[in-house]
């Protein structure tokens, strides 16, 4: 069974619907025992880092996810779930879960040529794969993913950067460490390419291919 972690951060149902479309059984839950017993964990999220971390810690889910990570259980973070796995976030100056070394940064105000780039980074963009990973198997170079975010993950260790995306500069859009893989984009809203990644995750044993 796949546990979709419910920490009031939204968009849980769209992940559930995508998993159902793939014919996979899952449960949206905030029950720490259920999450601990799950075969794998999906960790979605929309909203602000501060309130999400507060809810996670109050519900005791933060600790369960850390334990799952240490035991090598496959964990998928999506959007905000790809941010709060780092040490800290500039959003609300939040201390995060610290599964991956590094921090979450806000997109700076800048210009590309004569045009001001808009924040949030909203819409479809490509991912440039830096390190092969079983979860990104079969993703073609020209496929695009759906992003909506104003902050981005910035791992301290380059080996945690699995893919990058160009929005005036290259930012990490897929990060991973041991049995954790996390996408800044909404793979449940990224059409067939996103569903492919979700399916790959559900077949992944939590180990990086060498």
């Amino acid at each position: 069974m796949i546990a979709i972690v419910d920490y009031k951060a939204g968009n849980l149902r769209s992940v559930e619907r995508a998993l159902k479309k793939l014919g996979l059984s899952c449960r949206v839950t905030a029950d720490t025992r259920e999450i601990a017993a799950a075969e794998r964990i999906v960790f979605p999220g929309v909203g602000a880092a501060g309130s999400a971390m507060r809810d996670l810690m109050e519900l005791g889910i933060g600790r369960v996810i850390k334990e799952a990570f240490l035991s090598g259980k496959p964990i998928l973070g999506i959007c905000l779930g790809a941010q709060i796995v780092l040490d800290r976030s500039e959003e609300n100056e939040t201390v995060c879960l610290g599964l991956v070394r590094g921090e979450v940064k806000k997109f700076p105000d800048y210009n590309a040529g004569e045009v001001r780039l808009k924040i949030p980074h909203m819409g479809w963009n490509r991912i440039i794969i830096k390190r092969s990973h079983p979860v990104l198997e079969g993703i073609k170079e020209d496929e695009e993913m759906y992003f909506v975010h104003s902050y981005y993950p910035s791992p301290a260790d380059r080996s945690s950067v699995i893919a990058e995306t160009d929005y005036g500069f290259l930012f990490p859009s897929v990060i991973g460490c041991r049995s954790l893989i996390a996408t800044q984009f909404h793979l449940e809203k990224s059409g067939n390419a996103g569903l492919r990644i979700l399916k790959n995750f559900c077949e992944w044993d939590g180990r990086r291919a060498q």
Partner: protein, 259 residues
């Protein structure tokens, strides 16, 4: 880099897409779920549903449409029309929409924008603006005025000011519809779109007037719109989304070509 988005818009009344929309192939003309799936498979980047159901006691029908669409298509879609309260927003988002679009209700009570953004995040809140050209005056220095109630009520509010105010209140995106261009098929209102797109820091979807592919190219390049809303240009089978994207791509506009 970010792709420009092509967004088909479906008008829905009492759970059916409105008449006049003709599809090729085996797509049921009346069923918004089938039409959404058709566009999803055709490469739409997002879909907008506009609920034109007149009576509010039939709102549940739209919620049912939204939840069936959400089980079928895995790209973002938004729902507008008749959303007046934060509770209305919540029911549409819980049913599976990614975004809600608010228009007249936000003009009547701008707090709806900030309360919606606080409850669900700015990325969920699209400010729909219906705009009509007017002569520049003290009240409307930009020469564009906000109209509401489907174009029936003039507000005296300057469109450019309202766009900035909507952003300040927490809207995550603007869907900018020109009443003058809407339905003409003579092209988008390029000067209005450029004016608003350059003034705000949030994405702008241009709406109203697309009759040929070149119009879409113009609004995405000359007016710097982030996305183009389309309706009749594909609804009547004159073009497909692939046609449109191949043309844009050949002229150097970055669009999503693989799906």
């Amino acid at each position: 880099m970010l792709s420009r988005r092509i967004i088909p818009c479906l008008d829905v009344r009492d759970g059916k897409t409105t008449k006049g929309v003709r599809f090729k192939g085996n797509v049921d003309i009346g069923d918004p779920v089938e039409m959404a799936r058709f566009y999803y498979e055709e490469g739409a980047d997002e879909i907008v549903f506009y609920d034109i159901t007149a009576s509010s006691d039939r709102r549940d029908i739209m919620i049912d449409v939204v939840s069936r669409v959400a089980g079928e298509i895995f790209i973002p879609f938004s729902v507008g029309g008749g959303i007046r309260t934060v509770e209305d927003m919540r029911s549409v988002l819980l049913a599976g929409a990614e975004k809600v679009s608010i228009n007249s209700a936000a003009v009547r009570d701008p707090r709806l924008i900030s309360e919606g953004a606080a409850a669900f995040g700015s990325q969920c809140i699209v400010l729909g603006m219906d705009v009509k050209r007017t002569s520049p005056s003290e009240k409307t220095p930009s020469g564009y005025e906000i109209v509401i109630d489907g174009g029936r009520t003039f507000t005296g509010i300057d469109a450019l000011w309202w766009a900035g105010e909507g952003e300040r209140l927490g809207a995550g995106e603007i869907c900018l519809n020109s009443i003058d261009a809407d339905g003409t098929r003579n092209g988008y209102e390029l000067s209005l779109t450029r004016l608003v797109s350059e003034a705000v820091g949030i994405p702008v979807i241009a709406s109203g007037g697309a009759g040929e592919i070149g119009h879409i190219y113009d609004v995405l390049t000359k007016s710097r719109a982030d996305a183009a809303l389309i309706a009749s240009i594909t609804h009547f089978g004159a073009h497909t989304i692939r046609d449109i994207k191949e043309y844009l791509n050949s002229r150097g506009v970055k669009v999503r070509m693989s799906w």
